[in-house]
Symmetry: C3
Subunit: 353 residues, 3 copies
């Protein structure tokens, strides 16, 4: 029954949300419809990710989910850069990184951990993820400490940012080549693929990827509409731009990926959940952020890679605790709880800035 | 012979120390008697901990030892807060955390390592301890860096402290539930409990806990008397309040727990020693410190959780090296030596502030 | 053919380089001859290290290589201290530490990793190396943060430096005793020594050590001549003293050790390569740097251990990523690439200071 109604419900809620947004039916109604629509679209996204993971492995499934999701964020960031709103871009990049590392990973580990005592994933992958996260933190920390303690001109700061950005993209492409080709077998989740043998996916390989793409586009549109309604709420509650950018937008804008990761964790596919959460934040730190530096140049703008002290501290702290928890290749409910607590602590601090 | 004289000697030295303290026989004599009394009381404490550990496992034994020990410190801190001496409270909390992580753990690993080539304990527990230590450091670091780099009002600083304190207590209670109930088996020291099979404890379960309680109370009183004599010595040697609070009081005030941990390590019960050392510092960071924030409110005072830069640096450094050494679930004499060296380095730096 | 010409070629290129240097044939020609000479001397150094490693194990072989190499740097540093050029000494120590941890280890892992999918070395050793690196970072960080945030007099800063230096030497001597005597077996590379069984070394034990010594002395002279030509080049390209000291001199001055480590890695003797790279940087941080503090006193100078913020940041970052990569006792080409990228990032930042 629910299964048969799934696709029609996705379509109806999406259309209702679209109409309410473009007809300006008011923030409360738009919010309600968008919330409903994103719930169903997220269901499709999770199902499509799972189906792709069946054919291509959990890592590729999670990777595609993360990539499609970040593509939407990239597009929004480009519009902001065009208007020179660099601080908002950096706040939202910060929010996306810590949101994925703490909220998505934490909620997945907690939800999955309440059902399964311990959830395992590839320990080699966990180690490499940890090193790459560290690289991302170093690439933010090193130029910032040089700029903040030595007398480096704006021009040289930009030059440093461009070179560091090029290095990060070079590292990320190397990582794709390494993890998808030369050392693919070492980083695979053998346990999970075996566990899948019995299940039969609903869709073919091609259909799965198409649905993954469609679901991502839908989710991108709905979250855009959802974020739009936030202005009303944030004005009403007196929230700062920094807090809205780094927390509210990051949570709402990534709601679908979040729920996809949680759904997979509850099916004991922690490998795919980790890939969505950690893989997505790595992609933002090592690929999206540096690419935006180059894109800013295309528009005659100059967005450097120097984040504020509290942004670097937040990303560093998030990376450290996520590394400490995931490095052994397993998670439990308590570890999920700890990640969520650190996220909440950061949220409280950002709220009062 | 020594065994038969054990209880009488405990009683005699305790009474002598008490009389010398209340009759004001002079700092030197009081110091000598208190030193002697704490030696015997510590012996009882160690024996009681070991006996409790036999019945309930090394973790519970160590946990009870740490908890009773910290109860005394909590009481002293409450008196200080009543008088608004927040800086001394924070210095003594800092001293207790780094004293446990570096001095107690270091001395235990060194003493035990001189007898046994390598001493093992549960590797899962070591990993969780590492993550919890990190949480404690993050909870001190994050609010501090926000307060120090952004313009946050005193009122908002207090609000942040209260919320972060609540999160820490929430995390610590979750940890107790997790480690004592849902994942107890995963965190137990299987090796050590097997090694115990042959030994027969001297006391029953109930007697052991009562002795543990009595010994803790005695130790609390004697260390109070001992600390009292320090004023004379510190004035004579020109020591600063910060140094006395963070090092002298922390060493003398925890002398008994220290010796209990060392005795257990020398009996190759490193699991219990780690629980006393690391468990105690976690309890201070995640429970005692945040509880004191709420207690300060009860007295109409406002003690926030913002520690000084050097206090946070000291705790962070202690946590990092303790994590690096204990994470593999084993210690050697050399690792103990390294912990002691870091403790000595911090002591030298605090001495010159 | 090449084998028979090996020793004559070493001698000829060495003499040519010496003559061109002392006769002042011009920077370009001196540079070319020195570059050629160091190539052959490095070949001898690598071969000798490998031969010593055959008899005494990879660790001792690597240790002797690192020690002889650092002896040369120690001598140069002493001359600089005599003239009161403390900042240059600290910059070159920084450069040597990060050069070994990032450039040498990175190039070895990359070169070896292109031939072998995964290269392993003793995981216990990797853990101890990580802890010792952390100790080195702590010994630089703690005094610096005390001096920079509290009001500590120059006199007390020197006293702190002397005591911390003594502790570091004490730790390093303990490490030698621990790793060469009490826990030697635990830290050995069992796999590699087995793999060597078939091979027969070209030289006897004694000859190998003598060649190791001769090659080191030759390399020390040639790198001195090579560094001398750099003045011309750095003036021409407008390089800062800091950049030349921390990067150019460190790379050129250690060229031979670098190539020895890379050659060993390409023969799948990653244990010896790690010992040269990590062992050498540990020796500089825990032994050479503190010894220089005491040597400065002999010359009536006062060189403290307080490095600049960016130097400490660079060393801390290098240690963190090297620890993250080597801790599991294995390396791959991608991990080597990441180390080189972090080195390049630091180089770019130092270039613009």
């Amino acid at each position: 029954m629910i299964k048969r109604m799934f696709f029609p419900l996705i379509a109806i809620t999406f259309i209702l949300s679209a109409v309410s947004h473009y007809m300006h039916w008011g923030a409360e109604i738009e919010f309600a419809f968008a919330g409903l629509a994103i719930l169903f679209a997220a269901g499709l996204l999770g199902k499509a990710t799972e189906s792709v993971a069946h054919y291509a492995g959990q890592r590729i499934g999670g990777f595609l989910n993360a990539t499609f999701g970040n593509a939407a964020e990239l597009i929004i960031a480009i519009f902001l850069i065009k208007e020179g709103l660099f601080e908002i871009v950096k706040a939202s990049l910060t929010g996306a990184i810590i949101g994925n590392l703490l909220l998505v990973l934490g909620a997945s580990a907690l939800a999955g951990g309440l059902k399964y005592k311990e959830q395992n994933f590839n320990v080699h992958l966990a180690g490499q993820n940890a090193t790459l996260m560290l690289l991302g933190v170093i690439a933010l920390f090193v130029p910032a400490i040089f700029v903040k303690t030595e007398h480096i001109s704006t021009e040289n700061t930009m030059t440093i940012s461009i070179i560091v950005a090029a290095f990060l993209i070079f590292a990320y492409l190397g990582w794709l080549f390494y993890s998808m080709f030369t050392h693919k077998d070492m980083l695979e989740d053998h346990m999970d693929t075996q566990a899948d043998h019995g299940e039969k996916p609903a869709w073919s390989r091609r259909t799965s990827i198409i649905f993954l793409l469609i679901a991502t586009v839908m989710v991108a549109f709905i979250s855009e509409w959802l974020v739009h309604t936030l202005d009303t709420f944030s004005a009403r509650f007196g929230l700062s731009d920094l807090f809205v950018g780094a927390f509210v937008v990051a949570i709402v804008g990534n709601a679908a990926e979040h729920s996809a990761a949680i759904l997979l964790a509850m099916k004991n596919k922690m490998g795919a959940a980790v890939e969505i959460a950690v893989g997505s934040s790595l992609q933002i730190a090592l690929f999206v952020a540096p690419v935006l530096v180059f894109i800013s140049l295309l528009f005659g703008q100059q967005m450097d890679l120097i984040f504020t002290t509290i942004e670097i501290a937040a990303i560093g702290v998030a990376a450290l605790i996520a590394i400490s928890i995931s490095r052994d290749g397993s998670t439990t409910w308590f570890e999920g709880k700890l990640l969520l607590i650190v996220y909440a602590m950061l949220g409280v601090c950002f709220f009062f800035v």
